[in-house]
Each structure stands twice: as structure tokens, then as C-alpha cells.
């Protein structure tokens, strides 16, 4: 029986279940000191002075350091050289640019002393004008002498993709509609916040960090400090969630090693949640001006988008790329012949913005899927019908999207099948009938039905796709080595944090090698033991890393078959392997166990001529030819309380197409988690600032991370369209749920409010916002 496709229970679970997981803050290093940042309480200010004398007087304080102590350190890496004025220092130099910006660091014998010392540091600020939103920052540009967050740059806005001259086809179209969308700023909130232990000793630097790409950090740390990579080891042990925010470079990744070198002691840091809420990079924070041209039948003739990406106070390389991904995905699953997209990135006095589950694709999906409903409403068309009329058809792949026909080739898909399956599971026609009855009955909550046919770009990626974000490459690596007893050890270059890669990779290898699942172990996350790697992000672990495992396993199998053939005195092409045994096809009695083949692999006298010891060891650096494009159709049924405006999700139905599924349990888990974050973005989550740049949502009391009571049970369906871009046919599924669910929810809410003339609501659809929409003066 094939392991691929089976709901195998996870290898990862036992340690985590019994409290034997090993997260960064669990690691005990003798003699370690604890570091903690002194953070700016101002959103934009010049630092007049930092008085550390009281803090230094506290017993147990080892030192208090400011930027002046690290003047010889390089800047935090990742940004292109042409953006030199924007490169961030490990501690703010002279100017702070958001509330939470680290401006000094305390080192103490333990964390409670460090906390006391942070409170005792006195900072004198000279306030500067605060630009706490895209609007404020752009408005300041209208005045040549208006405030600039980086005076050396002379602008607060970076043109990422300039606006093209308006195509005359827009004005020639029978109809046009415009809408502005605000995609709410979110915080990833992995339940483990950032943590690091840095130990710089005579034999080099060892860093344990809660990070999604340890080799990437190793490469950059070695460059940063000018040390050789073999003396720089980075370990990402168990990591308590990432969702993109742990792929970013943060000051502590560089400062903790610097302090360890300076003090000659291991240095640890583990931020509190309140620190994390202002320090870990946020996601989304985009505004999109969208115009759609369409004809009387609801065919979309063109789309024009100008995206404004809030970068926060320090641009992050992934933050700079978010708008590009949004731009690429601006046609969604529809055959839109004309797309004109522009992106402007805007610096503001807020926490930096970077990748968060979906990273640029949820934003595009949101406006595309909202626009489909807006156009349907204007033409009196059913929302499902307008989608069917515009879908790219299954025979049109590979499909070059009008957004960027040189770079964006949809690999495969069957969009009508996904929507058909969704309608079937929903009981769509019956729901419509139920809705008319319910909405006519004032004693019942208003009912709304929302659809979203989403598309995302995943499987990062083809050569060149990650290098722009500072990564060494876009490949992923896997090494498989067979032990002398016939067990297998896989070292993978991905660095998972909940995805279940150990299980999935063992399934993939098990099928190719004919080795029992329980006789395969998978290792990750350590630059000293794993050859090289890129990391886990961009829905790439299976599509690129899993494919690497498969290709390495194929190489091992071919060599093992030769050994078995030699032992069985048969031709290699007659050998088959299953359940730990090699046998001659047709005569199963002629067989040899995997363990014997494995042992022979280390005994040259037992090997066929030309084969040396240690041959059952293969390393693959896997390159893929294209991105993959997971897709799906999501449906949402909401009930809106007519008095309070509270939105309740009555049903949520997901039909995913991620190509071939390796493990349905893991795939479903990824979808559930993504959908939960998407529903939550649509209804609950919103990082907010006052006009003066003070964060209003800096604890979990103010920022609503949903609990079990806030989310529904999910109904799931599946369509399988394999991708041709890798040998598994798998497309990647980590981000799908977060991409597809927000517009399904908001389409349902707007549908419920249609009798009030509501055309659009921005997220989150809080009771207050919905109540105001129902009670707006007409």
C-alpha cells in the first residue's frame, strides 16, 4: 500500500505531547545572561539622551548598551544596496521610527533583573512629526518641506511598479466600477514569540533561534561578523509557529551574538508577548485602488490596480516584495485579457510589515473576489454564475496571466470543477431558497452567502525567485543515507515548525525505497548536520523539499537495486522492492532483506564491480521549473444579528485543489489553520495605531486571536489537479486557507446586508462596523 496519500499519524507528536519538545527558551546553557531591549515609547523622535545610570546600579545588571557601543557593526542585511539610507541598525541610531523600536539593550543575570533594568533606563526624546498611516505619509509628500521619515531619502514612498499609462480599452468598455480596499494590518502571533540563545566561544558561534530558515541566518550571520561559515552554526530547534514572521531578520539575531562575543558569555533573549506585538513584523497593511471594466454579460474586460503597501518604519525585504505578489495575482482564476498594476511602498511610523501567511496573495484574492461580487450585483447576476462565465478553462494551461505574461504562468487547474463541488457540498440552490425565507422573517438573523474562488502562487520556487529576498538560492535540498541496518536517515533543508514535514518526507521516501515508515527518521534545522538548505516558507516544503526527498530516494533505490541484483544473481531490471525486501519479479522466494543490502553497501567485497563502500547516500539540490498555483473554492454562510451587528459563521465550506496530497491529515490541518487565520482577519484581527502612532493593540487583551468558541467546524471537499512542475504533482498548501477565506466571509456579510444597500465593508467586520452599515442614514 502506498504511504503517499495515507493519513499517517505524525512522527513529530510524541516529544511535543509529553512536554519533551525543545524550544529555544527551553535550552539550558550554563553561564548565560539574559538580554532585553529598551524600546521607544515614541513613534518618531530624536533621541536626546539615554540615561543608563540607575539601571547600571541594579544588582545583577551586567551592562546597558546603546547604538554608540556598536558603531562598528554592519547594518541588518537583506535590503538592496540602492536602498542604503533605509538599512536598519541593530539599535536605533539618533532617531526612533516606531513605538517598540529598540534603542538600547540591557544584559542581566536573569530575566527579571533585566526587566527591572529596562524600566530604570531613562530616555529623553525630541518628538518629530508622526506619520502613522499610508494616508498620513503620502499626504506629507504633498508638501516639499513636509516630514520625511528618512530625510536622506527625501521621500516617504518607493515606487515598486510605476503606474502605466491608462489603456484606452478601459474607457471603451461598456461598464466600469471602482472600489478602494483596505486590507487590515494583522499580527501573525505564533504562540512562541521570538527567542534566541547565542553562544560565541573560542571555537565559533552557535545560535539557537526560533526561525524558519536556519541556513539563511547562518549565511547572513557569517557575513555580518566576517567569520567563516564552518565556525558559525545556527539551529532552529522546535519552533512554536512562524507564519512568515519568523523568516524576517530582527535586531536580536545579530545583537545577541555581538553581546556574547563582547561579554564572553552565552546570551539569551525571549521576548514577551507585549514586546512581540510591536516587534515581530506585521502582515497585510495594504490599500488597493481597483477599477474593473466589464460588459453586459459580466465578462471582465480588464482590471487596473494601484496597491499601496505600508512598510512600517524599516522596510523588510519581504515587505518590499508583497506588492509585487499582489500585482501578479490580480487576475485570480479569471481569463481577464488586460491588467494594469502599480505598486507604491510607503514608509510609516509603525512596526515593519513583512510576510504573513499568504504574503501578498490574500490581498489580491480579496479585491478580485470582492469585485466579482460587486459586478455581479450591478448586473443582477448570481455570484456563482459570473465566476463560471469568467473562469480560465481547464484546457487553457499553462496560462500566461495578463498581470505579467513573462513571469506568471499558471501551471494547471480546474476552476469550474472546484466551484461545482463547492456548490454541491453547500447545497447552493437550497441555501438561496432558505435565505429568502429567513431574511423575510425579522425574528431571525440576516443570512448571507459568500463565495470565493481563489488562486495563489506557491512552491517558491524557480531559480531566481528567492534570491531577490536575500536567500542563497531557490532550490531545496535533501540527503538520504541508509544506515548499515537498513534504516534511513533523511536530512532536509526545509525547517518546519508544525507542518509535519518529518512525517510527509518519510512517507515519500518510504514509497520510493520500500522501507517501513517507522525505519525512517528525518532531521532538519541545524546547519551543522544538514548539508545546506533554504527553509520553510512560501508553501514550498512539499513542492520543492518533498520533491528533493523523492529524487534522492530514487537515486538510492537504483543503487540498492544493483546491489540486490548482484546478491540475487539477477538482472537489476527484474528486481522489485517492497516492505523492506528486494525480490526477483515473478519469483518472490528469491529475495534479500533491505538490511542485508544495506550492510553489503558498506562491505566492498559484497558489492558489484565498480561500486564502492557507502554508495547508499544521496544528496539532491532540487530545482523546480515553475511556481505551482494552488486553488480552490470556499463558501461561507453567516448570520448577522439585526440588533447588534454581530456576525456568526454558520457554515464554512472549503474545496481545495493543491494537486496530489501526500497526507490528508496534514493537508487538512494546514487548511484549517489557514482558514482560521483568514476568518479571523475578516472578523476579528486588526493591528491599530492612534494618529500619534501609539499602538492600540499591543497585548492579547486588545488584539483578538480567536479561541475555539470564535470559529466554526469546517466542511471540506477536494479536487485534485496535479501540477506538472514537480514529480510529486503536489502544489503546496500552507497558505491556501488564509488566502481564500477572507473574501468568502466578507462576501457573505455584504450579501447579508444587501437590503441596506451595502456595496463593500472593509475587514474586520466588527459588530460596530456592521451595525453602522445597517444604521447608516440613507
Amino acid at each position: 500500500m502506498s504511504l503517499v496519500g495515507a493519513a499517517v499519524r505524525r512522527k513529530e507528536d510524541p516529544n511535543l505531547l509529553v512536554g519533551r519538545g525543545r524550544f529555544v527558551d527551553d535550552i539550558v546553557v550554563p553561564g548565560a545572561v539574559f538580554m532585553m531591549f529598551v524600546r521607544s515609547t515614541e513613534a518618531h523622535a530624536r533621541i536626546r539622551s539615554i540615561d543608563t545610570s540607575n539601571a547600571m546600579g541594579i544588582q545583577g545588571v551586567v551592562g546597558v548598551f546603546t547604538a554608540a557601543d556598536f558603531g562598528d557593526l554592519a547594518k541588518i542585511p537583506g535590503l538592496p544596496p540602492e536602498l542604503a539610507p533605509l538599512h536598519r541598525s541593530v539599535l536605533a541610531v539618533d532617531t526612533v521610527r516606531f513605538v517598540g523600536d529598540p534603542l538600547a539593550v540591557v544584559v542581566a543575570e536573569d530575566r527579571s533583573i533585566a526587566e527591572d533594568a529596562v524600566e530604570a533606563v531613562v530616555v529623553d526624546y525630541e518628538p518629530l512629526p508622526v506619520l502613522a498611516s499610508i494616508g498620513a505619509s503620502l499626504a506629507a509628500m504633498a508638501d516639499p518641506d513636509g516630514p520625511r521619515i528618512y530625510p536622506d531619502l527625501a521621500t516617504n514612498a518607493l515606487p515598486i511598479i510605476p503606474e502605466a499609462e491608462r489603456d484606452p480599452a478601459f474607457d471603451a468598455a461598456p461598464h466600469r466600477v471602482n472600489q478602494r480596499f483596505v486590507n487590515n494590518r494583522c499580527s501573525a502571533v505564533p504562540i512562541e514569540a521570538l527567542a534566541i540563545v547565542a553562544d560565541w566561544g573560542p571555537s565559533g558561534l552557535v545560535v539557537h533561534a526560533s526561525f524558519q530558515a536556519p541556513h539563511h541566518l547562518r549565511n547572513q550571520l557569517a557575513l555580518f561578523f566576517g567569520i567563516p561559515q564552518h565556525e558559525c552554526r545556527v539551529v532552529a530547534p522546535d519552533v512554536g509557529g512562524g507564519f512568515g514572521t519568523k523568516i524576517c531578520f530582527y535586531p536580536e539575531w545579530f545583537l545577541a551574538p555581538a553581546l556574547s562575543r563582547l561579554l564572553g558569555r552565552p546570551v539569551r533573549a525571549a521576548q514577551t508577548r507585549s514586546e512581540g506585538m510591536v516587534h515581530m513584523h506585521h502582515g497585510r497593511a495594504q490599500e488597493n485602488d481597483v477599477e474593473v471594466a466589464y460588459d453586459d454579460d459580466g465578462k471582465i474586460l480588464g482590471i487596473r490596480v494601484h496597491t499601496y503597501q505600508d512598510l512600517g518604519g524599516y522596510p523588510d525585504p519581504t515587505g518590499l516584495g508583497l506588492g509585487v505578489l499582489t500585482s501578479w495575482m490580480s487576475c485570480g482564476v479569471y481569463a481577464i485579457p488586460l491588467a494594469q498594476t502599480a505598486v507604491t511602498a510607503v514608509i510609516t511610523n509603525t512596526t515593519p510589515v513583512a510576510a504573513y501567511r499568504g504574503a501578498g496573495r490574500p490581498e489580491a484574492t480579496f479585491f478580485v473576489e470582492r469585485m466579482m461580487d460587486i459586478v455581479a450585483d450591478r448586473l443582477g447576476l448570481d455570484p456563482a454564475e459570473i465566476r463560471f462565465r469568467n473562469f480560465i478553462q481547464p484546457d487553457q494551461f499553462p496560462y500566461a496571466a495578463a498581470t505579467n505574461p513573462e513571469a506568471v504562468f499558471y501551471d494547471s487547474g480546474n476552476y469550474p470543477a472546484a466551484l461545482d463541488e463547492l456548490k454541491r457540498i453547500m447545497g447552493y440552490e437550497q441555501l438561496l431558497a432558505e435565505q429568502s425565507a429567513r431574511n423575510a422573517d425579522p425574528s431571525q438573523p440576516l443570512m448571507g452567502i459568500g463565495l470565493a474562488c481563489w488562486l495563489e502562487i506557491a512552491g517558491f520556487g524557480p531559480n531566481g525567485s528567492l534570491e531577490g529576498f536575500g536567500h542563497l538560492g531557490s532550490w531545496e535540498s535533501a540527503q538520504i543515507r541508509i544506515q548499515p541496518d537498513g534504516t534511513a536517515l533523511i536530512s532536509a533543508g526545509t525547517s518546519p515548525h508544525g507542518q509535519g514535514n518529518a512525517t510527509a518526507f518519510a512517507q515519500i521516501a518510504g514509497d520510493e525505497l520500500g522501507i517501513d515508515f517507522d525505519r525512517i527518521s528525518v532531521r532538519f534545522g541545524d546547519t551543522e548536520t544538514v548539508q545546506q538548505g533554504i527553509g520553510t516558507m512560501g508553501s514550498r516544503a512539499i513542492a520543492v523539499g518533498g520533491d528533493a526527498v523523492k529524487n534522492a530516494a530514487i537515486q538510492i533505490r537504483e543503487r540498492a537495486v544493483q546491489i540486490a541484483a548482484h546478491q540475487l544473481e539477477a538482472a537489476p531490471e527484474d528486481i522489485e522492492v517492497a516492505n523492506g525486501v528486494f525480490s526477483v519479479r515473478g519469483t518472490p522466494a528469491r529475495s534479500v532483506a533491505w538490511a542485508e543490502v544495506a550492510t553489503a553497501a558498506f562491505q566492498p567485497l559484497s558489492l558489484p564491480e565498480g561500486m564502492g563502500a557507502g554508495t547508499l547516500d544521496a544528496t539532491v539540490f532540487n530545482e523546480v521549473s515553475n511556481f505551482s498555483f494552488p486553488t480552490g473554492a470556499y463558501g461561507c454562510v453567516v448570520g448577522v444579528d439585526r440588533l447588534t451587528g454581530e456576525v456568526g459563521i454558520e457554515r464554512f465550506i472549503v474545496v481545495d485543489d493543491c494537486g496530489v496530497v501526500i497526507n490528508p491529515l496534514l493537508a487538512e490541518g494546514q487548511v484549517h489553520g489557514g482558514v482560521a487565520q483568514g476568518i479571523s482577519q475578516a472578523l476579528y484581527e486588526h493591528v491599530q495605531y492612534s494618529e500619534s502612532g501609539q499602538p492600540l493593540t499591543s497585548t492579547l487583551v486588545d488584539y483578538l486571536v480567536p479561541a475555539a468558541t470564535d470559529l466554526p467546524r469546517f466542511e471540506t471537499g477536494r479536487v485534485v489537479t496535479p501540477t506538472p512542475v514537480n514529480s510529486l504533482g503536489a502544489k503546496g498548501i500552507g497558505e491556501s486557507g488564509a488566502v481564500g477565506s477572507p473574501p468568502a466571509v466578507i462576501n457573505a456579510v455584504v450579501d447579508a446586508l444587501s437590503s441596506f444597500g451595502v456595496v463593500h465593508l472593509d475587514m474586520p467586520a466588527t459588530p460596530e462596523k456592521v451595525w453602522r452599515a445597517m444604521n447608516a442614514p440613507t
Binding site: 512536554g19 512554536g240 509557529g241 508577548r273 491529515l665 489553520g673 482560521a676 475555539a708 470559529l711 486557507g737
Partner: protein, 158 residues
């Protein structure tokens, strides 16, 4: 410094600690029981849930001195059920994919175990309500609910 004596997972422990020491830090830093995690600083997330005299508490809201003389069970103290690899709740999480990154899991498991000791056959709504104080960012909760139901159905009756 104050001396506290707490029975943890059936073993008598005693340490001199600063009066402000939280129970979670007593467990993690004094005893090296790092299975209990810290996920927030406002008592919202429940990652630090342990049992104090059999009841689920958030160990970040209990001072070590408040637990002086009491009985504490942390994730490390759960025992396998007869014929199972783990405690039924842990087993349920394994069978139903109730965990991903595993960071919230010890607190979640302890909260679920406390629920089942009070209500051996909870409905989905009762489970969701009981877990309102435990946040998970990975699973969307459905498989956690299923895990608890699995445990309810497979817990050996005394």
C-alpha cells in the same frame, strides 16, 4: 527570598525563590520542567496551564508562594492509560492531529484533561467553551475538539 515547598508530579520539591516568582518560572527555571510554556503576558493564551490540586490553572497567574504546600501536575506528570502509549488526551491529540507546532499543546492537553475529569462526555460546544482560555494558532481548533472527543470515547472507565 522565600522558601516554598510544592509537590510536583508526585515529588516533593523545595526552593528558595524571590516572592514574585511565578509558578510557571518555578517549574521551568527551578525544576527544569520546560514542558510548560509561556505564550503571553496577559493570561490569555493558556500555554502555561497546569493542574493545581487537580484543577486547571494558568501557572503564569499563580505565584510560586501561592502553591506552597500544594500539589501541582504539569504535562510531564501525565501518565499513560492502560494499553495506551500516552494519557488518553495525549493519545487523542496524536490520533486526531490535534497539534502542529506543539507549543500550545502541553497547556491545551492539561486543560482538556481537567475538562474530562469534570465532564467525562462533553459535547462539542462544551469542549469549545472549556477551551476558550487556551489559544492555538495552528489548528483552527476543530481537530483539538475531535481529539478531546476521541479521549472521551477511549478513556478506560474506572
Amino acid at each position: 527570598m522565600t522558601t516554598v515547598s510544592i509537590r510536583v508530579n508526585g515529588i516533593a520539591t523545595s526552593r528558595d525563590v524571590a516572592p514574585r516568582t511565578l509558578l510557571v518560572h518555578y517549574l521551568r527555571e527551578e525544576l527544569g520542567l520546560t514542558g510548560t510554556h509561556v505564550g503571553c503576558d496577559t493570561s490569555n493564551c493558556g500555554a502555561c496551564t497546569v493542574h493545581l490540586n487537580g484543577e486547571a490553572v494558568k501557572s503564569c497567574t499563580v505565584l510560586a508562594v501561592q502553591a506552597d504546600g500544594e500539589d501541582v501536575t504539569s504535562i510531564e506528570g501525565l501518565r499513560p492509560a492502560e494499553g495506551m502509549e500516552f494519557h488518553p488526551v495525549q493519545q487523542g491529540f496524536h490520533e486526531c492531529h490535534g497539534l502542529q507546532c506543539g507549543y500550545c499543546t502541553p497547556g491545551m492537553v492539561m486543560a482538556c484533561a481537567a475538562l474530562l475529569s469534570e465532564n467525562a462526555d462533553p459535547s462539542e460546544t462544551e469542549i469549545r467553551t472549556a477551551l476558550e482560555g487556551n489559544l492555538c494558532r495552528c489548528t483552527g481548533y476543530q481537530m483539538i475538539v475531535d481529539s478531546v472527543r476521541w479521549a472521551a470515547e477511549h478513556t478506560p472507565t474506572a
